[in-house]
């Protein structure tokens, strides 16, 4: 199984190595949990049955003073374990952002693009962002874009509206967009985009109240029929936990509580991610 949405923000070895790392976790990303040795990350994956995790940085230094992990830090972690798949983040308003992305992919071996308009403070339809999308499309990597509500302080909700991405989705049909957090609370907007556009994927890292299983039961059974996932979107959903905002084991349990068929779960938990990442694939139905 692959977790498509994790943030390496509480790793003690990095807190000891990089002076601003803890302040970034507390003040920019805003998370109160204790720092943990890297070993805990792997153990969290193990108990959840996760083999590989996508690590997401956010290049928000211009807007927030510090980046939420750098591309270099993500690449460093990927160098420590093949269980990590690193994404790159760039500031689209920074001159040379497209070249920076190309360098992170070709030079550091990072496998995707991560952007968060709310935390990075840019307009999703700024022409400068489109230059980054163009580069991502040319590189053949997926773009995981924050949509929905952000936990980070000072981030406006409006910049997380999934429909803001429609012009880019239409302009770059060969670029696969992964809408993080299922666009919550705009889940129907996210659904509509995924139904209409084959280059739109949704990640399951939405959890904002109650317990993970309760949240999923409401979101996927009452807010929308689970049949949308089972029948229409089965090839466009990837499992993401948003660890360490929630432990991976709880999110795996939640997705497995929905009564999806094994074939559909296999796609969500593994093969859709493999397809997006261009790694080993298994036959899909």
């Amino acid at each position: 199984m692959i977790d498509f949405h994790t943030h390496p923000v509480l790793i003690r070895e990095f807190a000891e190595k990089y002076p601003d790392y803890t302040r970034m976790a507390r003040e920019v990303f805003q998370i109160g949990n204790n720092l943990q040795p890297l070993e805990t990350f792997f153990l969290q994956m193990d108990v959840a049955g996760i083999e590989k995790a996508v690590l997401l940085p956010i290049a928000c230094a211009r807007a927030r003073g510090l980046a939420v992990s750098s591309n270099e830090q993500v690449a460093e972690l990927c160098g420590m374990s093949k269980r990590f798949i690193g994404f790159a983040s760039v500031d689209p308003l920074h001159p040379g952002a497209a070249r920076e992305l190309e360098s992170a992919v070709k030079g550091m071996g990072l496998k995707g693009l991560k952007l968060d308009a709310a935390l990075q403070d840019f307009d999703l339809n700024d022409s400068k962002v489109f230059a980054v999308y163009e580069a991502a499309s040319a590189l053949g990597i997926p773009a995981l874009i924050h949509t929905g509500m952000s936990w980070a302080p000072g981030t406006p909700l409006a910049q997380g509206q999934p429909l803001l991405l429609e012009p880019a989705i239409r302009r770059f049909p060969k670029l696969n967009f992964v809408l993080a957090h299922w666009g919550w609370p705009w889940v129907w907007d996210a659904n509509a985009l995924a139904l209409k556009y084959p280059n739109v994927y949704l990640d399951t890292s939405c959890f904002y109240y109650d317990g993970p299983t309760e949240f999923f039961q409401f979101h996927f059974s009452q807010q929308m029929p689970i049949t949308i996932v089972e029948r229409s979107l089965r090839n466009q959903v990837v499992f993401g936990s948003n660890y360490p905002r929630v432990e991976i084991k709880n999110m795996v349990k939640a997705i497995k509580s929905l009564g999806l068929t094994e074939a559909c779960l296999q796609k969500i938990l593994r093969t859709n991610a493999e397809k997006l990442l261009g790694i080993e694939t298994q036959p899909t139905r």
């Binding site: 805003q30 109160g32 204790n34 108990v47 317990g211 929630v246 084991k249």
Partner: protein, 143 residues
């Protein structure tokens, strides 16, 4: 009067786990130089615990199984809410309640430089929300 405080890290490897720390406590007492006094052991976390029982795998399993029965995950807990200051949802109420139910500390007398314990008493660090690196404290007081 000697007062020594040690903070010990322990890495839990499962979601729930009973970790025998008896030998480590004995060792810290022996190193402390205290001949007669008291040793207190306490977890530093609110979703883990410290308890004393007979050191048998079957009892370890029973404790965790019956705590889960008494405090199921799918109960209606008020703690399950958006905690903006923490950047998380407080979805682990049952782990906090298990910590309260099983307790967070224990103490034993020290005599002639050794912990005085019943022959079957084993000290466990209880993980209710792992795997995590945890810390427990051992304070030795005496002469």
């Amino acid at each position: 009067m000697i007062i020594k405080l040690e903070k010990i890290k322990v890495q839990s490897r499962k979601a729930e786990e009973a970790i025998d720390i008896t030998a480590h406590v004995d060792e810290l007492v022996a190193k402390s130089g205290v001949k007669n006094g008291l040793v207190n052991v306490m977890t530093c976390h609110t979703s883990s615990g410290l308890l004393v029982t007979e050191g048998l795998p079957c009892l370890e399993e029973d404790i965790l199984t019956h705590f889960a029965r008494l405090l199921p995950e799918d109960e209606n807990y008020h703690h399950r809410r958006y905690l903006d200051f923490d950047g998380r949802v407080g979805f682990n109420a049952e782990t906090h309640l298990k910590s309260i139910l099983g307790g967070i500390q224990c103490s034993f007398p020290i005599e002639d430089g050794k912990v005085v314990r019943g022959s079957r008493q084993t000290i466990y660090f209880m993980e209710y929300d792992g795997p995590l690196e945890r810390t427990y404290m051992v304070q030795v007081l005496g002469e």
